[in-house]
C-alpha cells in the first residue's frame, strides 16, 4: 500500500515532521496540513482512527502529545497503515529510548533517517525493528568517525 504523506502534528497544530511521497506544490501542502490538522485535533479519543479526506483516506493515531497522520488512497488497507505507523513509533522509541516530542524536535534529522529506513516512496520495506536499529547505529558510528577525523584535521 502506498502512503501519500506522513505528518507529525503536535497538539497545538505545529508540524514536527512532514514527509511527502508525492510532488505537491507548497500551497497544496500547506492546505493539506491545515485541513487535516483542523479535523484531527478536534476528534475525540473514542472516535475511530480514519476518516475520508478528498479522494483518499486519512489514518491517524495519537501518541502522547503527537498526532501521527498518514494519507492513503481510498483502496488501501487502513489497518495495515496503522501497523506501519506503530512500527515507526516503536523504532523511534527503540532508537531514542523512551522517545518524547522533545527528542523529535531536537533530533529531527535522526527522526527523518529512521523514517527513511522504514518507508521508501510510500512503501514499507523494512519491518524488523532490530534491523532498523542496527542501521541507525551503524550510521551514527560512521558519523562519529568522520567527526573525529575532522577534529584531528
Amino acid at each position: 500500500m502506498a502512503i501519500n504523506f506522513l505528518l507529525l502534528i503536535s497538539r497545538q497544530g505545529k508540524v514536527r515532521l512532514a514527509k511527502w511521497f508525492h510532488a505537491l506544490s507548497a500551497k497544496e501542502r500547506v492546505k493539506i496540513v491545515r485541513d487535516v490538522a483542523s479535523i484531527v485535533l478536534v476528534r475525540k479519543p473514542k472516535m475511530c482512527n480514519f476518516f475520508e479526506y478528498k479522494a483518499g483516506k486519512i489514518v491517524y493515531r495519537r501518541y502522547a502529545s503527537l498526532y501521527f497522520v498518514c494519507g492513503i488512497d481510498s483502496t488501501d488497507n487502513e489497518l495495515i497503515t496503522l501497523e506501519v505507523i506503530h512500527r515507526f513509533v516503536e523504532c523511534l522509541d527503540r532508537y531514542f529510548g523512551n522517545v518524547c516530542e522533545l527528542d523529535l524536535i531536537f533530533n529531527f534529522e535522526k527522526a527523518y533517517y529512521v523514517l527513511e529506513e522504514i518507508l521508501l516512496a510510500g512503501q514499507c520495506h523494512e519491518t524488523s525493528k532490530l534491523a532498523v536499529q542496527n542501521l541507525m547505529l551503524g550510521g551514527d558510528a560512521e558519523a562519529e568517525i568522520e567527526t573525529q577525523q575532522h577534529e584531528v584535521l
Binding site: M1, M47, C48, N77, I80, E109, Y113, E142
Partner: protein, 830 residues
Amino acid sequence: MVFEKTLEDLIKGLRQHRGDEESFIASAVSECRKEVQSKEMVVKAEAIAKLTYLEMFGIDISWASFHVIEVMSSSKLSLKRKGYLAAIQSFKSNTDVLMLATNLIKKDMMSANTTEIAIAINGLSHLANISLSRDLYQDVLMLLSHSVPYIRKRAIIVLYKICIQYPEALKTCFPKLRSKLDDPDPSVVNAAVSVICELARKQPKSYLETAPEMFHLLTNSSNNWMLIKLIKLFCSLTPYEPRLIKKLTPPLTELIQTSTAVSLLYECIHTVVSGGMLTGHSHADELAHLCVDKLKGFFEDTDQNLKYLGLLTFKKIAESHRDLVVQHMSLFLKCLIDPDVSLRFRALDLVSDIVDKDSIKSIVKTLMLQLIVNSDYTTENFRQVSAMSIIQMTSKSNYANITDFEWLLSVYIDLARVPNIAVEKELNHQILDLCVRVKALRPFAAELFSRVITEPVFVDKQTESIEPKSNILRAVVWCLGEYAEFLPDAIAVVEALIRPVFYTYPPEVQSVLLWALPKVYIQKFRELVNSWDSEKLTVLSMWAEEIQLFAKHLMSVHHIEVKTRAAEIYYIFTQLLDVFKPSDANATLELLNQPPYILQNTLPVLFTHAPLNPVAFKAQGKVQTPEGLDLNVQINAELVVPEELKKKDVWAYVSALDGTNDVSSRSFELSKLDSFQSSVSGHDRKSPFYLGNDRSSAENLIITDEPSKNENGISVNNDEEMVSQMSTIKTGYSYPITGPVEIAQDELPEGVVLSDTDAEHTSVPLNAKEVPLISFDETLREPNTDDSLIKKVTKVKKSKKKGHRVVLDGETKVKKSSKKKKSSKKKSTL
C-alpha cells in the same frame, strides 16, 4: 574565528523566542546566508541543516539550492546525508539545480559504500522527475543485481517511482523486476511484490502473466505483510481473469478462517467483496457466509475502527447478499446511536441501503429519537443528513417499504417539529404526495392537520430556526382545504385559519390559506344545509364576515399572488354577505327557507367542483394528438430577407439571442419585424412615447448632469433654471419637435456640425447617424455602398458602448451629452 550557531542552538533559541519568532528566524536566515558561502563543508552543512529546520516553519529556502547540491557532493557521509535531506525537503520539480543533481546521484549510486548508495537511492525516490528518471533508470536497473539485498530491495522500490515518472522505462525494467520474485532474500521478494502490486493497480491487464508466481507465493508464504500485498494484487486482477476467482477461493477461505491478524483478515474479506468473488460461482454463498460471520466479530470488539470497517464492508456485501446483511440489523441500529459521529454516518449509509418493510419502523424510530432527544449542535450535519435520509428511505421506490401510511404521516409531522433541521421543502412535497395519492389516508390527514394548525410550534414564528417551521403549513393548509369533507369540525378550522397571526406569515402560506378558507367554509355549509334555519344562517353569515375581514387585511400584503387572491375572496364574500342581508322582505323570507343560490351552487362549483387526482408519470405520452395537427410544420412561411438588412449586425445579434443561425429562424424574426413594422408605421409618430429616429424629440428627453450654461458661459445651477429646463423637457414630451432645434450658429467652430441641425439629416446618410439599431423609417433605408461609412458605423457603435452619443461628420466628433438645447456650448471632443 566566527562563532556559528549549531542546529541545537537554533532550535533552543527558537523555542525561547516563542512570541517573537519572526525576527529571530529572519536573523537566523541571514546568518545562514553567510555561512553557506563558507569554504568549510562542515559549516556549510550545518547551515543547510538549520535551513532544513526552518523550512518546516514555512520559510522558503530555494535560494540555497545550489549550496545544498554542494553539500550533497561532500565525501563525508554525515554531511552528505544532511545535504540530501535538505534537497528532499526543499527541492520542487521546477528547481533548476535538479539537473546538477543527476550526475551527483549517479556517482553516489556507483559508490562502493552501501550507505552512500542507500542515501542516493532515497534521494532519488523523492526527487525523481522525468529527466532524472530518464537519465538514471539504467543505473538503478544495474543496482537490481547488487550483492547486498538491502540495496537490491531499495533499488526495486525506487524503480517503481521512476517508472511512474518515465513509463517508457517500464518495458526494459519489467523482466528484471519479475526475476526478482525468485530472489533468495525475502525482503527483496517482498519489495518486488509491492512494486508489482502498485503497478498492477494502474494497469491490471499487463500484469496478469505474473499471476502464477504470485499464487505460488501466496500459498507458500507466511509473511503477513507480503500476504496482504499479494491479496491486494489479486483484488486488482480478478476482474480481468474470472478463473482466478475459482483458484483463489480455497487459499483465501483458509486465510480467513485461520488468520489471527486482523489486518490480514480484513484485507482478505475486502478482496473477496470488492473483487467480485461473492457472485457467479458455486462457493460464493459459502464465502459470503464466512465473511459475514467474521465481520460480525468485528462488532464485538471494542475497537471503533473495526466497527467502522465492518460497516463499510457490509455495505458492499449488501449489494449481492442483502439477506445476510439484514440479519444483523440490530448491530447497525446500535451503531446508529454510537457516540462516534463517523460511525453513525456509516451506519446511516448502510441502513438506507438495506431498509425494508420490517425494519423501517425501527430504523426511523431510532433516528427520530435521536433527533428529538439530542439537539447537539456539533453534530448538526448529521441531524440534517439523518432527517433527509428518513424522508428518502420512506419514499424509496414509491413507498414500497410502507405498510402503515398513517404512521408515516405522523412521522413527517413529528419531523417537522424537530428544531434546527431544514427539511420543510421535502416534507411539504411528501405530505402532498401522500395525501393526493393515498385516498384512504385523507380522513386521517384532515383530522391530524386540523390539530396541527393550532399547535404553537408551527404557528408562532420561530426566529432561530434555519427556515421557519411555518413553511410546512403550505402543505397542511392545502390539504385541509382540499379534503375539507373529512374535517371533523370545520368551524374550528376556519377559526384557526383566520387568526391574526397569519397576517405576517410568508406569502406562500397566505396564498394557500386564502384558497383553503372558502373550501372549508363550504364544507361547513354542507354540514348545515340539511337542517337549514335562521340560526344556521346567522352562523354562516357571521363566519362569512370574519373571512371577509381576514381577506381584507391580506389585501394589503405586498405580494401579487396574495393580493389577487385576497381581493377575490373579499369580493366573493362581500357578494355573499349582500345576499345574506337582503333589503327586500321577500328575499329575507326566502332566505330563511332555503339557502341562497350562491352558497348552494356557485361557490361549490367555483371551489370544490372537481377533485384533484394524481397524474401518472407517463400520462402525457398517452395523450393522442388531435386529427390534422402536425407538430413539425413551420408556423410561418419563409420570408425573403432584404440584402441590405442581412449585412447589419443586428441579425447576427438576433439569431445569437435565438441560439440558432439558420435562415428559417431568421425569417421568423423578420416576419416578427415586419408585423411590428406595419404596426409601427401606422403608429402615431407624434405620440410622445414614440422613440423613433426622431432625434430631436429623443434629445429633449435627455437630462444631463452638467449645470446649464447660459450664453455668457456662466453656469447657472439654481432651482429656477432647473425648473424651467424641466418644463421645456416636459413640453418636449407633450409635443415632440419634428424639426431641428434652433441653436445659435455663431458659436460653432469650423467644420463642426451639430447633430440636431438640418444639415445632418440631408448630408450624412443613415448609417453614420446615431439611430436605434433597427430603423423603422422607410425613407432612411438607403443602401449603404460607401465603405468609409461602414467604418464610421462601427466607430459609432463602439463609441455608443461608452454611453455617449457620438456623431461623425468628416473627422470631428461632437459629444452630444454635453450639449443643451438653446444655450449650450458646442465642444468638439474626440
